[in-house]
Amino acid sequence: MAEATTDRLRVRLVTPERTLFEAEASAVELPSKSGYMEVLYGHAPLMAELGAGDVTIHGTEAAENEAGGVVRLNVSWGFVEVLPNRVTILASDALKPEEIDLPRAEQQLERGLNLLKQAGESVEASDEAQRVIFEAEAKIASGSGAAKAH
């Protein structure tokens, strides 16, 4: 592997089923559990748990790029390892915006809200409900964003 460009990040997004994305980029936005963060070349080594949201990869040279090489992917839960020249995202589930099934996401949101109602005082159940709601909301946000862009 010839490392010709020195200020590029190697970004990889892996899910249990497939490697969804692998390319060089200049910056990555990540939905960490404690909020969004952006990673540039030369970031200190970091390990973080991911929540649900969009991973936005800037400045890729991938053929499929639109709008200035920005690639947006919806991920739900996972981990990320950041090294100065490498970002590896281990996502439990990841979808391209056009793959998101909006009606299903709406249903999921409803299911989550119902769960929350039933959860009562059980911490475990309401945590689980929160997770479902969070994931559904992230999917809806990124799915409807994709619909607008087209």
Partner: protein, 357 residues
């Protein structure tokens, strides 16, 4: 002695059977190819999650310095009294000894632990059907707890070995979400001390030739990264040869595509010799990673088992096709002999009749 007509009929029926087995073999070969791709695609994730967990464990103390609490309940080891056994078999038959071997291994495991209480989770229809005939299904009753919620409560144990769950159709379309549900269930049962250990019996699939049956320990996590194999059965050289033959005739590459480079890189994930910043406290990271690790081990085992099942079916159907061909040859030879004998007999009759005139 059978007459020519009967023999011809038999040959025709064997030929039909051969057509069917040949078609089944080709179908299995196509499915195997797809299953193999899926198994390969699932590998980087499994390797990465194992190595990140390994590195985290090396860096972070398992016990909190101040409180002396364990970072995560899954690291706790207890004397094994109650064991959970996940048995991964196939959904369909006609795969040679595939299902029988998995079940044999499971029974050996159960007989090897006669004093312990064993719960079985059956994945795959064939294994479930057989295990259900053999062992009672655990009784659950629904009870309403203090928060007005219904939750299943397990009834009294009827026998040492019980079937606690089955998952029909899980293997047909391997849905990560459902596997995740199973993994979470197992983790919760371990954390609530319903079980002291969890094992999984499945067929490992390295390549078309190299497959073996293994019993792997899921929980407790004693060693991370390397699979915790508790027992394995290697195929004999003869079996390997058979498999290679079947694969070649179906046009399947013997060795899977070279993935060593990707695997090497995956192994390095999270193990760079630097100090990481952790966005969350270690206990939280463990809490997120460990169930995911159990999931990845389960998912990995299932993708491999599916590939192994198709490979076993392909081999079995290849053998069946060969046997049918052999049988057709034998029957044709026999039929020709019978026909020849009839002709000779008739000629003798004519000749002797003419001589008598």
């Amino acid at each position: 002695m059978a007459n020519v007509l009967d023999l011809r009929r038999r040959i025709r029926s064997v030929k039909n059977t051969r057509q069917i087995t040949k078609a089944m073999k080709m179908v299995s070969a196509a499915k195997l190819r797809r299953a193999q791709e899926r198994a390969l695609a699932a590998r980087p994730y499994a390797r990465m999650i194992a190595s990140v967990l390994e590195s985290l464990r090396r860096r972070v103390d398992l016990y909190d310095e101040r409180t002396g609490e364990l970072a995560h309940p899954l690291f706790l080891t207890r004397p094994e009294k109650r064991i959970l056994l996940v048995v991964v078999s196939g959904d369909k038959g006609f795969a040679g000894a595939f299902n029988a071997n998995v079940l044999k291994m499971a029974h050996q495991f159960i007989e090897g632990n006669p004093e312990k209480e064993i719960d079985i989770e059956a994945v795959g229809r064939k294994g479930r059907d057989q295990l259900r005939r053999r062992f009672p299904v655990a009784a659950y009753t629904e009870q309403v707890d203090e928060q007005g919620q219904k939750r299943p409560v397990r009834g009294a144990r009827q026998a040492k070995v019980e079937l606690t769950g089955d998952h029909p159709g899980l293997l047909a379309r391997l849905d990560p979400k459902r596997v995740e549900g199973l993994a979470r269930g197992i983790v919760a049962r371990y954390a609530h001390e319903e079980i002291d250990a969890a094992y999984i019996v499945y067929n490992e699939f390295k390549s078309v030739i190299s497959q073996r049956l293994v019993v792997e320990r899921l929980l407790p996590l004693i060693e991370l990264g390397a699979p915790q194999i508790a027992g394995a059965v290697e195929p004999s050289a003869e079996e390997k040869e058979r498999r290679a033959e079947a694969a070649l005739s179906a046009g399947i590459a013997l060795e899977a595509a070279d993935t060593t480079e990707a695997e090497e890189e995956a192994k390095k994930f999270g193990t760079a010799g630097v100090d990481y910043l952790y966005d969350q406290p270690a206990a939280e990271l463990f809490a997120g990673l460990l169930p995911q690790y159990i999931f990845s081990v389960l998912f990995h085992a299932m993708t491999e088992s599916v590939a192994a099942e198709h490979a076993a079916r392909m081999t079995a159907m290849d053998s069946a096709t060969n046997n049918a061909s052999e049988m057709i040859d034998d029957l044709t030879l026999h039929m020709n002999r019978v026909r020849q004998a009839a002709i000779t007999k008739e000629i003798i009759e004519i000749v002797s009749g003419a001589a008598a005139l």
